[in-house]
């Protein structure tokens, strides 16, 4: 039976799509069969980050409306054979999603995959509520700033009340993933600390992804960062997070500022 995992945040631009792609690829690299589903109907991005934008024929809405079969819409990753993408439609909007349609697709995907990663759109409206609707677990992507943390708090409240699991009196297992963590700014006290965030959200931590140019570079070439440069700091953090999702006990590493030799020599501070 597949695990349905929603990657959500409330706030936009915090790294949901990047994290979905990176975690999906990392789980697939760990031998799991994975499908990443783009719920951002009308503003799809996951296909770009996965580098599959030129192979999209059918999409989620086509399958919801019965125009295409699921097998016609699924796109297999070129690099990992057990990683698949179900793209969103760019020409429609979230109203084209229905509760029953999404339920049917999740049920059908459950028979084929170990993991179903749902990339939620920003906001708390239809797209976001349907992305989380059938989730067993949730990754709440949060930046170390107050607006992002408050929106995450709101989303956690919705995960506890608006999901099928919550309505059955069960709980969605929730994890906080802190992204765009800048050790230099943290050291100067310009960001919320990890402790602050965890105290406010009262939810276990899945990982801390450092702010890095590697993330942007990977997105630009259409590759999940864990595939593009597996040795980079963000990739290692995502791989650790994916292993924690699989149940491994991995020690948490808080990224620290690393001054380069020349900077240290010249007394420069990293920007």
């Amino acid at each position: 039976m597949a695990k349905v995992l929603v990657v959500t945040s409330g706030k936009g631009g915090v790294g949901k799509t990047t994290s979905t792609a990176a975690l999906g690829a990392a789980l697939a690299q760990g031998g799991q069969s994975v499908v990443v589903v783009d719920f951002d109907v009308g503003l799809r991005n996951l296909d770009l980050v996965m580098g599959a934008e030129r192979r999209v024929v059918f999409d989620l809405i086509n399958v919801v409306q019965g125009v295409a079969k699921l097998s016609q819409a699924l796109i297999r990753d070129k690099r990992l054979e057990n990683l698949w993408l179900l793209p969103a439609s760019q020409t429609r909007d979230k109203d084209a999603l229905t509760d029953e349609g999404v339920g049917r697709i999740i049920a059908e995907l459950s028979t084929r995959f170990d993991w179903i990663l749902c990339d939620s759109p920003a906001g708390i409206e239809r797209g976001a509520t349907l992305a989380m609707r059938y989730a067993d677990e949730a990754v709440i992507v949060t930046n170390p700033e107050v607006s992002s943390v408050r929106d995450s708090d709101r989303i956690i409240g919705m995960l506890d009340s608006k999901t099928v699991k919550a309505e059955k009196g069960e709980r969605v297992k929730k994890h906080v993933l802190i992204t765009r963590y800048d050790p230099a700014r943290a050291a100067r006290g310009e960001m919320l600390t990890i402790d602050d965030i965890l105290e406010i959200l009262a939810t276990p931590l899945l990982g801390i992804i450092p702010e890095s140019q590697d993330v942007l570079k990977a997105s630009n070439v259409g590759s999940p960062v864990t595939l593009n440069n597996a040795d980079s700091a963000p990739a290692r953090a995502y791989i650790d997070a994916a292993r924690r999702l699989m149940g491994d006990d991995i020690a948490m590493v808080v990224p620290v500022e690393r001054k380069r030799f020349m900077d240290r020599l010249l007394g420069r501070r990293a920007a």
């Binding site: 708390i124 708090d153 709101r154 409240g157 406010i200």
Partner: protein, 236 residues
Amino acid sequence: MDVRADPTRQLVRLRGRSYVAFVFSPVVPIVEWLSEIDTTLARSPGYFVGKPIVLDLASVDLSASAISHLVGSLDERGIRVLGIEGVDESRLAANMPPLLTGGRACVITRNEPAHRAEEPKEEPKPKPTSLLLDSPVRSGQSIVFTEGDVTVLGSVGSGAEIVAGGSIHIYGTLRGRAMAGVNGNSAARIYCQKIEAELLAIDGYYQTAEEIDPSLRNRPAQAWLQGDTMKITPLN
């Protein structure tokens, strides 16, 4: 000449008197309309006892037998029909209430004895006077409990609110809004383990985050009313 003399000649004296009657205006389907009457009767049995009832059939088209059946159905419920209006006289059989005309609408004033209305009330279950929440209250959630105190085992997030008729106890950080004593209870208080509130209110008197003394921040505190001013003091 007529020899028979009436011993006393009774004079038939006719007097006019007006009464306020309840007017029933049945609508189709009659069965559902009757069940509405039943609901009213279930709530207050004897509500129509001794009341003059007039049946206004203007909005329905019923045959003579249907009218007869309707009058009979009301009779079974202890409702006796005084007269019928809004129907052609030919539809009314001899044994039916007479046709009435010329009614004027008026306001019904209820002057039932007060005790009668109270009698059928069952002893109500005592409602809980406190609410316990054992998980954090998240941003966007609104907890409203006007019957008494609210206790939260956890934090109240920024953008969340607690509204209580009584006091509010928060075993965690209060980052959202807390409104106590909303029913006019000026003795209600707000307690929290860490105060970072956006707004505190007791019985309508409130303070926003800007007005709260910054030296209290992050400390255990309580808020209460002293006359017309809200006081916030540390608890340790």
